[in-house]
């Protein structure tokens, strides 16, 4: 595939978005019956589902920590989520992303309240169109809240990027593939803490500062939607 024009003459992106514009975002919580908490999140064409089980007993038991809950996290892409079939075996990328997502969640969950237990977080990417780890992190955070697990704050994930020299918000797959930089962040907007930060690409210091600011503004919008989504679940029951 040839590199497409990422920033058009009118300054808009290949899908017509402004540089600081998110894709259409959809989310819902409590969508699974079995899980203690669950969430579904869409960022444009990226579709992710997350489930949380726990706190529950740890098997095998020797893994249990005496002074806090264990968090176990799996980020996984469905084999049909990509254009070419993805092997269902966990790739090196998925292993790394499981780690950074887990560490982001550890930053907000009060694990010390549940010693000797585990909180299991499962993220399945159903369709990948850029920003799967950040959509996955948003979904995982919502699922944890839906499970009633005590935590400091919600986490909104979003990726910013540099495409054709322009810093843009919420990059999709094409922009990720042909752009110059992809910087996913996880942001606990209420307590103003960055809990996930990676940069894959080249940025000057000034560009980094600009990208981080843009990412935080984007994450704040997503954070607001997350809070509304959690609220809506209970309003819906009342209106029925």
């Amino acid at each position: 595939m040839e590199k497409p024009i990422l920033i058009r003459e009118d300054g808009l992106r290949h899908d017509g978005r402004k540089p600081d514009e998110l894709r259409p975002i959809k989310m819902d919580v409590g969508i699974l019956k079995n899980a203690d908490g669950s969430a579904y999140v869409e960022y444009g064409g990226t579709k992710v589902i997350a489930a949380v089980y726990g706190p529950r007993e740890v098997y095998p038991r020797h893994l249990a920590l005496p002074d806090r809950a264990l968090i176990r996290c799996r980020y996984h892409m469905a084999s049909f989520s990509t254009s070419d079939r993805k092997s269902p075996a966990p790739s090196r990328r998925e292993i790394e992303l499981s780690k950074v997502i887990r560490e982001a969640l550890e930053a907000v969950v009060f694990t010390e309240l549940y010693p000797r237990t585990t909180i299991d977080v499962f993220i399945e990417v159903l369709q990948a169109d850029g920003g799967t780890r950040t959509a996955g992190l948003t979904a995982a955070s919502l699922a944890l809240a839906d499970a009633g697990i005590p935590m400091k704050d919600l986490i909104a994930g979003v990726a910013v990027g540099k495409i054709d020299g322009v810093i843009v918000l919420d990059i999709d797959e094409v922009e990720d593939e042909f752009g110059e930089a992809d910087m996913p962040i996880g942001y606990a907007a209420g307590i103003e803490e960055i809990v996930l930060l990676q940069l894959n690409g080249v940025l000057t210091r000034e560009e980094f500062n600009k990208a981080l600011e843009l990412a935080k503004r984007g994450a704040e919008q997503i954070y607001k939607l997350m809070k509304e989504t959690l609220h809506k679940k209970y309003l819906k029951v009342l209106s029925e």
């Binding site: 203690d36 908490g37 726990g54 706190p55 529950r56 007993e57 005496p66 907000v108 009060f110 309240l113 549940y114 010693p115 000797r116 237990t117 809240a145 839906d146 499970a147 009633g148 697990i149 005590p150 935590m151 400091k152 704050d153 919600l154 606990a188 209420g190 307590i191 809070k227 959690l230 609220h231 209970y234 029951v237 009342l238």
Partner: protein, 243 residues
């Protein structure tokens, strides 16, 4: 400690929602969590740590959670399922992150592991109504069935609900539970771990009771829920009588 409370009573709050600001404290307050109130304090601000209902009393704010697994507490009455039998104790699933222990001597007078086979007294798959006597987060909870009404459950029906909704099913000063008992005529035992044991005069009454409980579970955050349940029970039981 004087608080400026920023939420309304019974307002739905989420993790990270600001509930109140501490106004008069001049000292530096360490960041800390108060798990039983589902709040944490940081930089003189009080936040919710979960999805729940803000509850304001006098000059205090806390959150009654709407979700979450059952977490054992000493003296809680629980209903547990026997899932394992050892030489000297039973393993009881109380829907908590920890399995509970019930010792043979609790059930069998003069218990002697050589003489007595625990399965003759309480077998896998049976329910017990018990009280938690020991639990401190470092050890598994220990149960007793010595107490009025405690012991093996041999009759009636078991209804499982979210443990976070138990407070609502009991109601303020037991008002909801009273309503359920008087209207249906069922004998109802509510355990803290989200299991309800009902003994009803007939199956119709049980059906209505189950429906009412599920309704309370779903609408736990609704204002005027007791009134709605009263109307619901009257309608359902009235209709059944006409038939």
């Amino acid at each position: 400690m004087k608080l400026r409370i920023l939420v309304a009573d019974r307002q739905i709050v989420r993790p990270g929602d600001l509930l109140a600001e501490i106004e008069d404290s001049t000292e530096h307050l360490e960041e800390r969590i108060i798990p039983e109130k589902h709040i944490y304090i940081k930089n003189k601000k009080i936040y919710s740590d979960t999805i729940g209902l803000a509850t304001i009393t006098d000059n205090d704010v806390q959150v009654i959670p709407l979700e979450g697994v059952y977490f054992p507490k000493k003296d809680d009455i629980v209903i547990g399922l026997v899932v394992g039998v050892g030489i000297t104790n039973w393993i009881i699933d109380i829907r908590a992150p920890y399995k509970a222990i019930l010792n043979g001597s609790e059930v069998i007078e003069g218990f002697n592991p050589i003489q007595h086979d625990l399965r003759d007294y309480l077998d896998i798959g049976e329910y017990v109504l018990a009280k938690i006597t020991i639990f401190d987060r470092t050890r598994d909870p220990v149960l007793t069935i010595k107490g009025k009404g405690l012991g093996k459950i041999t009759e009636g029906a078991i209804i499982e609900v979210k443990p976070s909704r138990i407070a609502r099913i009991i109601g303020k000063k037991g008002s909801m539970l009273n309503l359920l008992t008087t209207k249906t005529g069922c004998n109802i035992t509510v355990a803290q771990n989200g299991i309800i044991w009902a003994r009803c005069p007939d199956n119709n009454k049980l059906d209505v009771l189950v429906k009412a409980i599920k309704r309370i579970e779903e609408k736990a955050h609704m204002r005027g829920l007791t009134e709605e349940i009263r109307l619901f029970l009257e309608k359902e039981l009235g209709e059944k009588r006409e038939k």
